[in-house]
């Protein structure tokens, strides 16, 4: 028989990478040898479609895709043009989620159903009403992921594809996703994140813009060009031009392009296509009306609305970086979420170190004292572990605390007066790879509270958190302040500590330093929050 295309059920298929290894050996509940694989389902409410993937997670976190469902619904058009998701679209989503839920039940996956929503829902003015309606009607709780999380999930999804692609594991690779609402780019060097970029320019926004201008075809290209140009300036700042750069483009529109340009291409696999051919296809598609595209290619209306502008933006990005060949790869948000579900939402050590590196990069960007940052982060981690029974926080929170250690002094870049407040807004408005907007805010607030006033609900950012969020900031800031006090000299005199709780005293034992008076003074000043939060008075002592 003829050779069959690789399939998602084939573990050697590069389109569905195996779960990244868990090099840190983080504890993970064992599925047990005899336990059958667990069915899971993930729903993605996107800008142009609602999708669901049903998969099985076997012992060791391997994924096997069982079913992939997709229903076009133009939420992006609702949000980007009207600002809100219309009633009809809301009810359509209810209907789709209901049927998806039923499909998940047919695989026994309803208990492990996770649903996420992206830009179109995130930016909708009636986002809360939309989420409430869906929850009331379907019982499905939808998590809205922000840009940062999207980047992380895409990285999860594409990691193994690139790792197995000769030449890409070592070369600088830009992973480019021109979505309906956003353009996102991730620079990878040796498969580690070396830069990222997010811009609110997407194909559907562009299409909406073109319609608003009602420009003739020639004008459309000009409008597109202007928009892309503005984006590219910012993009080049975040991801500078560099030799040997390769671009891996993802997204449904690019999959369509691959199918058109490479007839023998097997869907889901990676393929290289000369930029000139993509450029020709963009030139062919852009002038076509949506109706013409639907009729000619049998695509859904939401897909038809985005394909032309997407290809145009991709071409302009590639041209601006001097790249003449595009690698089209399959990576999806759903794939990323599934990978997370498969590893029980644990972050791998490789992933954690990338987040930490992003923190250090941010510290460097604002000329902060990196040595001091590393020292505070390390001391804070020790204290965090010693207080585990008290705070009952997990691995992710430990990472946030460490990142706060790296970046807490970036505010000095602005001024040394009230620099903790400058740190807050600089961090809060930065992009830290792998962290969600909410998590970045926690890092910003923990940094803000490294000195002076303790948290108050009147403080900007802190007051907007829910109770759980405020508790988290309090717990982490209390630790962070103590750790910062221990390196008050910024000379890393104290590097190794042993912590012990005895009654209401939190004993910190250190060695190698004769005189702890500076640190003790700092502890007196900063230890108040630990007393408030944990009921423990931090006391520094010499080791015997």
């Amino acid at each position: 028989m003829s050779t069959r295309p690789a399939s998602p059920n084939n573990p050697s298929d590069p389109a569905i990478p195996a779960i990244p290894a868990n090099p840190a050996g983080l504890p993970r509940p064992s599925l047990g040898g005899a336990k059958p694989p667990e069915p899971v389902a993930v729903i993605d409410i996107g800008t142009s479609a609602v999708r669901m993937t049903v998969a099985e997670v076997s012992d060791g976190g391997h994924l096997r895709i069982l079913d992939e469902l997709e229903h076009p619904v133009n939420l992006g058009k609702n949000t980007f043009i009207n600002g809100t998701i219309g009633r009809e679209a809301v009810e359509k989503c209810v209907e789709i989620i209901e049927s998806f839920k039923r499909a998940a039940m047919e695989y026994g996956a309803a208990q492990n159903l996770r649903a996420v929503a992206t830009t179109a829902v995130r930016e909708a003015n009636n986002r809360r009403e939309f989420l409430d309606r869906l929850f009331i009607a379907t019982g499905v709780d939808i998590q809205v992921v922000d840009e940062g999380e999207t980047t992380r999930l895409i990285y999860n999804s594409i990691f193994n594809t690139l790792a197995h692609k000769p030449g890409m594991a070592t070369a600088p690779v830009m992973v480019l996703d021109v979505g309906a609402g956003m353009t996102e780019a991730l620079l990878l060097k040796n498969l580690r994140v070396a830069g990222s970029f997010i811009h609110r320019l997407g194909s559907l926004r562009l299409r909406a813009l073109l319609q608003r201008y009602d420009a003739p075809i020639a004008g459309e290209v000009e409008v597109l060009g202007n928009q892309a140009h503005m984006m590219l300036e910012a993009m080049h700042y975040a991801i500078p031009r560099q030799p040997h750069l390769q671009i891996a483009v993802i997204g449904g529109d690019m999959q369509f392009a691959a199918a058109r340009l490479v007839p023998e291409w097997a869907p889901g696999t990676t393929v290289e296509i000369p930029l000139a051919r993509v450029r020709d296809l963009a030139a062919e598609l852009l002038p076509m009306t949506v109706e013409h595209l639907v009729r000619t290619f049998g695509m859904s209306i939401p897909d038809a609305e985005t394909v032309g502008p997407t290809l145009e933006v991709v071409c302009r990005v590639a041209e601006s970086y001097g790249v003449d060949t595009l690698t089209i790869a399959k990576a999806t948000l759903l794939g990323g979420v599934l990978q997370e579900v498969a590893i029980k939402n644990e972050w791998s050590q490789a992933f954690i170190s990338q987040i930490e590196e992003a923190g250090i990069e941010l510290a460097k960007k604002y000329s902060a004292d990196v040595k001091h940052g590393r020292c505070v982060a390390s001391l804070a981690e020790r204290i965090f572990d010693a207080l585990l029974p008290q705070h009952k926080l997990g691995n992710r929170e430990r990472v946030l605390l460490k990142v706060a250690g790296f970046v807490h002094e970036v505010g000095l870049f602005v001024s040394n007066r009230a620099h903790h407040k400058h740190s807050y807004y600089l961090i809060d408005n930065s992009h830290l790879f792998g962290l969600s907007r909410e998590q970045i805010r926690v890092v910003a607030l923990v940094s803000r509270y490294h000195r002076r006033a303790t948290p108050k609900t009147s403080h900007e950012g802190y007051g907007s958190l829910d109770r759980e969020g405020r508790m988290l900031v309090n717990k982490l800031a209390a630790i962070h302040r103590v750790a910062d006090a221990l390196d008050r000299t910024q000379a890393q005199r104290i590097r190794d500590i042993h912590c012990e709780i005895d009654g209401d005293t939190f004993w910190i034992t250190a060695s190698g330093v004769q005189d702890f008076s500076v640190e003790n003074l700092a502890l007196k000043e900063k230890g108040n929050l630990m007393q408030q939060v944990y009921g423990l008075k931090p006391v520094l002592r010499h080791s015997r």
Partner: protein, 699 residues
Amino acid sequence: MEPTTPFINRELSWLNFNRRVLEEALNPLVPLLERVKFLAITANNLDEFFMVRVGSLQFLLDEGRARPDLSGRNPHEQMEVVRRETHAFMRDQQDCYQKGLKEALTDAGIRLLNLIETPPTAAQQKHIEQVFESEIFPILSPMAVEPESFPLIKSLSLHLLVRLSPAEGEKMPRYAIIPLEPGPKRLIEIPEPSGISRVLIEDVVSLLIERFFPGQKVEECVPFRITRNADMSVEHDASDLLAEMREVLLERRASGCVRLEVSEGISATMLERLCRSLPVSEDAVYRASGPLDLRFLFGVAGLHGYDMHKNDKWKPFPSADIPQGESMFEAIARRDLVLHHPYESFDPVVSFVQEAAEDPDVLAIKMTLYRVSKQSRIMEALIRAAETGKHVTAVVELKARFDEAANIEWARKLEIAGVNTIFGVRGLKTHAKLCLVVRREADGIRRYMHIGTGNYNESTAGIYGDVSLMTCDSDIGADASQLFNAITGYSQPASYRKLEAAPIGLRQRLFDLIAVETEGAKRGEEAWIMAKMNSLADREIIEALYAASNAGVRIALNVRGICMLRPGVPGLSENIRVVSIVDRFLEHSRIFFFNHAGDQNLYIASADWMGRNLDRRVELFAPVEDEENRNRLAFILQTYFKDNVNAWEMQPNGSYVRLTPTGSKPFSSQRRLYFEAKDRWENARAARRIVFEPMRASK
């Protein structure tokens, strides 16, 4: 039928098929009661032809359409030629019955008396009167025909039109109609010393007609039957398909009359009254020299006994690949199964659904249902599965022609049981035969599929030649899920890994497969297509086959019914051969072979190569990958082309010539395939060692 265009007219091609069936009724080599059955089949076929095809032509004429068909005839010309052919055909049916079969039946001891031609003896008369008084008279009710109105006449039912003498003081005759259906059975038995004679109910009622009209004079009594146009369907955007379908069924009851059958002795007055009232045109009147509605011969063919006048019984064999007592899941997991029905039993398919319904590890069952038997173990199993909490989805096609009412009833029962019941897809008929079972196993979810060329109909599975593929291939499983996701509206249609489905990708896939052969032939490679189907009536596919033939591809087609392709025309189709098999089993399977540069790809499908199948239906096209199964299907396909007993070879002008075993041994394909299944079973049985399993006393 002179070859004027490269295409044969579809209606004439169909009529030609029915004529091949009639030839079996005339064939002295065929056992008598089988011949009788073939004649009844032609009558049944023709009824459907009038309802649908003549009905469709009538609509075109009513709408004033003048566009010619592929054979170059406009609707008016088509209707003219169809009328001419059907008049001749129905005369031939009567000749077959009266000049051949009736006498042969008498010789065989099955006497069918004509009470009008031969008055009954006193003893016969006495028995007839007894039956009339006890079983007929209480049931039948004459309906008065008013001068300005006419009762609603049911399509395909036999009626008597009665003319009574004018009432006192009146000049105009009076009319009454007696519907004979629903009513007593058509054949009434008269016990006699020498055996049993049978008479038709219309003759009995005509003989004693005056008892319905005491004190009045019956001047004439004639049976008649009408056929109404049934070529109507629901609006595509009907919001409530179930309600709309019921409307269509009601609408059909009063739709236009496309045929009026009457006894040839009818008076001009009576005929004029009928034609005016129905109304019906003169060319739609079919005069029969014998009994109307020859479907009563099904009853004669099915009489108990008379085994010497029937085919020897071919009981279906169990599949050689399914050891007795083994679970269907185990058998399928071991290797893909191909079943060739009815030579091999349909029971494994039923067992598959039954086991799925009972198995606690089965999470979901999904199934398409097009034509289902009245008593269905499959449906019972689906209902049981739903009642015990499994996720059961049934796609019941409400638009399945002439099974609409039965399917509405099944859909209702399934819904009550908690089955997620889908009434097909808007604008399309779901004709694919697919059952998907999702089962939780130790190493994860596994999907088991049955894909068939025939319906999930346990009755027709015993007489239709069809193929089943049962597999748990993961790619086909993913495709099956995709197809159900699309049909049930869970997801938009997506591309498939191994399967192909109409209406989205199948047409293109066929073009691609044919093109691969065409290009291969151009390069001088061996290029070869074998295909078996019920009908070939798609312009583009035929043109692709002509192009392939011209490139040197050898094409062997086994098309049972309509074939609009002209084979063997120099410069057009000289490499194409078309045969049609008409034998005891209805050839219904769709099997396709493409040489594909030596890969020898084999597929089965639910679809014929017709526009309606490729563009307006949900159909399935599945590869058969297991080597043994592929060899077997290739053998089955090839076997048909060796037939010289029940095979007809199509000629360039569209006519058919029966192949005869001149100079060679007679070879019947169906007989060969029966023995192939028998040998497989017997070899498998011999290969399995008998192991005694001692039954021990419990401790």
